[in-house]
């Protein structure tokens, strides 16, 4: 902790006073600002700049001993009030603050400024390379000046461009506002760009490290596309994650020609992207759930999934054909009735006939009810920082959709708690580290799969959505 170095910092300050390189200044904060000048106008020397070394030593000791009130005096470095670098215009090293410190208690009532403290901390710790963001580039001459005058170990300061990401904010003040004003559930909300938020979202440490490696390090400011972060995790999950079946918005399917009490155990590959993948069994029975989106009563030309009279493949199971649609009194579809072809077990027809769609499903009798949280980007604007004071107006109102009536195959009970997996065709998911229990499973969507259908929908506008 830097507060351990307070004694040493004080001694170094006395060393500078003795060398005639620091003085106690009585100007008020406003006056100090006025004397400092501007980017275009040089500063003016403080009337206290000519104090003798003896006077400065005495006053600084009395500052330390608590003889003066807050803000009444400061210790400043004596450098150059006409420097083109404002940081070198006699910067403040110590200010008076009668306040208790969490580690040093009331021992001190003078506290070092960042510029004074930071170089000394680096030096004491024998840092060889002090790496910081670009906004400290203009502070480097001051960093160097202090260490040169003190003739102590002198680390090399190197600046790099900080990370900017599209569709998010990375200012601590703004992130705090998101938390305090309850736009998110906390610092570790899975939509937050915080490390704990990303972790809860399902980002493993190696993904973040890989992302940092990919974006590289440079001196030029730039904004990295959020999609690159998503790309990094998708690339990893495609290879490493098992596939399971889950239905987010269930629609009941009844297979009319399937025996009422019959049950089958079908074999499903856990990860088709891995040639050495293990497999599991998935139960099949007469009543199933499919995704509401996978059925259309009056399908447009480009819709190949289930529709009246049409045959599709149920993944790892059979071909089914829709023969009837059951509706409630409000004309909402509540059930779809189908027949299945027992010859197509495993997913292929012996007579060679083809179907254009393969859909995921779960057996209603065996399904486990789950809560699913579908996360999207927290902001609708690509460059949130450009929105200035309006930044909160581009918070995405649909950044979290909670579905409490989703279902998944029973195998999910065997999941390891930190396992990331794919719900086939829906995206990559993981158990929520805070709210998930075996009894009440809660899954976060880490990232979507690329969705060709969405693209077609966009191209054609809303006309095809019923």
């Amino acid at each position: 902790m830097p507060s351990n170095y307070f004694d040493k910092m004080y001694d170094y300050a006395v060393q500078l006073i003795n060398a005639g390189l620091a003085y106690v200044c009585d100007l008020s904060a406003d006056e100090t600002r006025e004397y400092r000048g501007t980017l275009t106008a040089p500063g003016t020397e403080s009337p206290y700049r000519k104090r003798t070394i003896e006077e400065n030593l005495d006053l600084f000791l009395r500052m330390k001993n608590g003889e003066f009130g807050d803000g009444s005096k400061v210790l400043r470095a004596k450098i150059d009030m006409t420097s083109s670098n404002i940081n070198l215009r006699d910067p403040v090293m110590y200010r008076i603050m009668h306040a208790d410190h969490p580690h040093t208690g009331n021992k001190w009532c003078i506290y070092p400024t960042y510029d004074w403290a930071h170089g000394i901390e680096d030096s004491i710790e024998k840092i060889t390379h002090s790496i910081c963001t670009l906004e400290f580039e203009d502070h480097r001459p001051l960093y160097d000046w202090f260490l040169e005058q003190l003739k102590i170990h002198h680390p090399r300061q190197i600046e790099f461009a900080r990370l900017n990401l599209t569709f998010t904010v990375l200012s601590k003040r703004k992130l705090l506002q998101l938390v305090e004003e309850k736009y998110v559930s906390g610092w570790d909300d899975p939509r937050m760009p915080t490390i704990s938020g990303l972790r809860r979202r399902g980002y493993k440490p190696e993904i973040i490290r890989n992302f940092c490696e990919k974006i590289g390090v440079s001196k030029a400011n730039s904004t990295v596309d959020f999609a690159l972060l998503e790309h990094c995790i998708r690339e990893d999950l495609n290879v490493t994650s098992n596939r399971y079946m889950g239905v987010l918005r269930p629609l009941k399917v009844v297979i009319e020609n399937y025996p009422d009490e019959k049950e089958e155990e079908l074999t499903a590959v856990n990860n088709p992207a891995d040639p050495n993948s293990s497999s599991r069994v998935v139960p099949f029975s007469k009543v199933l759930y499919i995704e509401q989106d996978d059925f259309m009563e009056n399908p447009p030309k480009d819709f190949y999934r289930l529709a009246p009279g049409r045959e599709v493949r149920l993944r790892y199971a059979y071909f089914i054909k829709c023969i009837n649609v059951i509706k409630d009194s409000n004309n909402n579809i509540i059930e779809v009735h189908c027949t299945y072809d027992p010859e197509t077990k495993g997913g292929n027809a012996p007579d060679g006939r083809k179907v254009k769609a393969t859909m995921h499903w779960v057996s209603a009798k065996h399904a486990k009810k789950i809560e699913v949280r579908l996360y999207d980007r927290l902001f609708t604007s690509e460059f949130v920082e450009n929105e200035k004071d309006n930044w909160k107006s581009c918070i995405n109102p649909k950044s979290c959709e909670v579905l409490k009536e989703s279902f998944c195959e029973p195998y999910i009970a065997n999941l390891k708690l930190d396992e990331r997996f794919q719900f086939e065709r829906l995206g990559y998911f993981c158990a929520d580290s805070k709210d998930h229990t075996i009894e009440n499973p809660v899954f976060n969507r880490i990232v979507q799969l690329k969705d060709a259908w969405e693209k077609i929908k966009k191209k054609m506008g809303n006309s095809i959505i019923n």
């Binding site: 506290y111 060889t128 990401l165 704990s196 972790r199 940092c212 390090v217």
Partner: protein
Amino acid sequence: MNENIESIRVNFIKNIITEDIENKKIEKVITRFPPEPNGYLHIGHAKSICLNFGIAKDFGGICNLRFDDTNPVKEDMEYISSIKEDAVKLF
């Protein structure tokens, strides 16, 4: 070994450090990551953590996690423990 040297020369900071070692300006690399304990770490800090801890690892040096406590403000233990957890888990 050659591969190692190649992977070290991926950014300009690593190049500078490699030169400093070759010119015998330094022996053991020591970097630091100095967060202020007034919020949670975010992906921007991750870049700095990966850089500082990554350099220390690549060059067989060390990286100090240093909490800036030069100001007499109340410390929020929530922030301090979260920062420790995040930095440790990331590296």
